[in-house]
């Protein structure tokens, strides 16, 4: 059973100045799955991501990933162990091209240092070529190979989101964490995003954990959905289960009473 779980959180507790943000959270992701995490604003979803990836230091609990304990690791070590993420607000490197942005992901998979660079050692040259080639591959995968040499922050918003995903893929992860990837996208872009997420899992074999408020997208793509409210897991199940769970409706979905229609 345990072997089936790629990521397993147990008893994770996080508080800021007495304000409990995550309250004894137990949660797991099977291998090869697409799982969504939903919940009201301020429920602690992003905080959960930050706790997994080492940006926040929970006061208690454990985060096991592929047999390894993550809680003591720094963010870059978490990434090296095989988890990549995107951010709720797109955070691309300014003034750098799309390709350069994606190349950053390869950093933790390569190793040549300053001396090798200054002396232009053959091993360094080989590695540079490899970094470039793989980054281009990642760009092609998310479908924006044409934009490789543009300054990343001048791209349309939807494309910036894709650069972020390509950059994450370049770290060669086993698990990809996406924080509201559809926010600010128009409906066409949302459809494309849904396809992309499916391909990441199906073609690359990377598991995906998704935070998203767009219920259409969540329901369509997730194999399992977990619901967080006030730092607690209040429900877990398939899209159907969740949609009809009164607790979830009360806390999160709400009733569209059509009041807008006067």
């Amino acid at each position: 059973m345990a072997d089936n779980q790629l990521l397993a959180l147990s008893g994770v507790t996080l508080a800021f100045a007495g304000n409990t943000v995550l309250d004894d959270v137990n949660f797991s992701i099977p291998r090869d799955a697409i799982v969504s995490l939903i919940g009201p604003n301020g429920a602690g979803k992003t905080s959960l991501f930050n706790s997994i990836t080492g940006f926040y230091k929970p006061q208690g609990g454990s985060v096991r990933f592929d047999g390894q304990e993550l809680l003591k690791l720094k963010p870059h070590q978490v990434t090296a162990s095989g988890i990549a993420r995107t951010f709720q607000n797109v955070r691309l490197f300014r003034e750098m091209t799309v390709l350069e942005n994606v190349m950053s992901g390869m950093h933790c998979r390569t190793k040549s240092g300053a001396l090798a660079a200054v002396l232009r050692l053959p091993s360094q040259q080989r590695e540079e070529a490899e970094i470039r080639a793989f980054s281009e591959e990642c760009l092609a995968f998310v479908g924006i190979a044409d934009e490789a040499n543009r300054e990343a922050t001048t791209l349309a918003y939807g494309h910036q989101r894709r650069v972020e995903i390509a950059r994450a893929l370049a770290t060669k992860p086993k698990l990809l964490l996406l924080d509201e990837p559809a926010a600010g996208l128009n409906s066409g872009e949302k459809v494309a995003l849904t396809e992309l997420i499916a391909r990441i899992r199906n073609e690359l074999g990377i598991s995906v954990l998704l935070i998203e408020h767009d219920m259409g997208l969540v329901m369509k793509i997730s194999e399992r959905i977990s619901v967080l409210d006030h730092g607690k897991m209040i429900a877990e199940g398939t899209a159907k289960d969740i949609q009809n769970d009164p607790k979830v409706i009360e806390a999160y979905l709400g009733q569209d009473d059509g009041e807008g229609q006067s």
């Binding site: 992003t46 991501f49 930050n50 940006f55 951010f87 709720q88 955070r91």
Partner: protein, 304 residues
Amino acid sequence: MTAFDVVMQQIVNGLVLGSFYALVALGYTMIFGVIKLLNFAHGDLYMVGGFVGFLVLSAISGITGGGWTGVAISMFLSMIAVGCLGVVIERVAYHPMLRAPRLSILITALAVSLVLQNTVLSITHGQYTAFGADFGFGGVNLGNVFITYNQMILVGIAAFLMIGLEVFVSRTQYGRAMRAVAIDKDMCQLMGINVSGVIAVTFLIGSALAAAAGTLAGAYYGSVWYFMGFLIGLKAFTAAVIGGIGSIPGAMLGGLILGFLEAFGTQLPGIGSEWKDVFSFAVLILVLVFKPTGLLGKSEQERM
């Protein structure tokens, strides 16, 4: 003097020195707080303040005499003049650069510093100028510790200016606006805040405080000199950082701490006074290693 007397006397010394540092550090911190600029010209405004104070006092001492009345008037006028100079500098040298890379303004500030210093250098030919304030050396003796009236007045004026400023910035809408401008200028505009106006007022106040310190220093120490702002500028910068740059109470605290460090650093047992600056800087570094945002600085956490 007993060891206790020495300690008490050094506390008095540290307090006086610290007051000067704090006054200059306040301007540093305010200006940093609003436009994120390390205004390296700030120490030179202190210097110009000293000279303006001197000029005013020379002009009026016939009527007022060289005592505290004359000095107070000179200080006040110098604050106004140098405050305006600060605003002019901001308009000419910094304002056009506000959207430029941050470090570029740093260079402009250094250039302004060189301009101020070398202008006064050319005028005075680098000579020291006797300030001409003339007040007695009287004071009170507490045991063996001697505190002059001048020191008391000085610390009093400094405290008054600092507390006034703190109240202004923390309690009034305008002060709040000052802090807001530092964070997001566009948003401030949308809330109806005149961003340029706020920046100008910040420079006015910050420069005026430096001028107050400069005039008081000229009067208290007895002379002014074109290079007198350099060292205190560095020290004030240090003080502002110890206290947490951007924080007004922090600048006061940092100034006083630096004053005390230097006073007691001189008296370090076993090693000579030549190590006192090494001592203060070492303490500064230690503070920052353990408290990376300074003593009263808020950590600027960013949400992800």
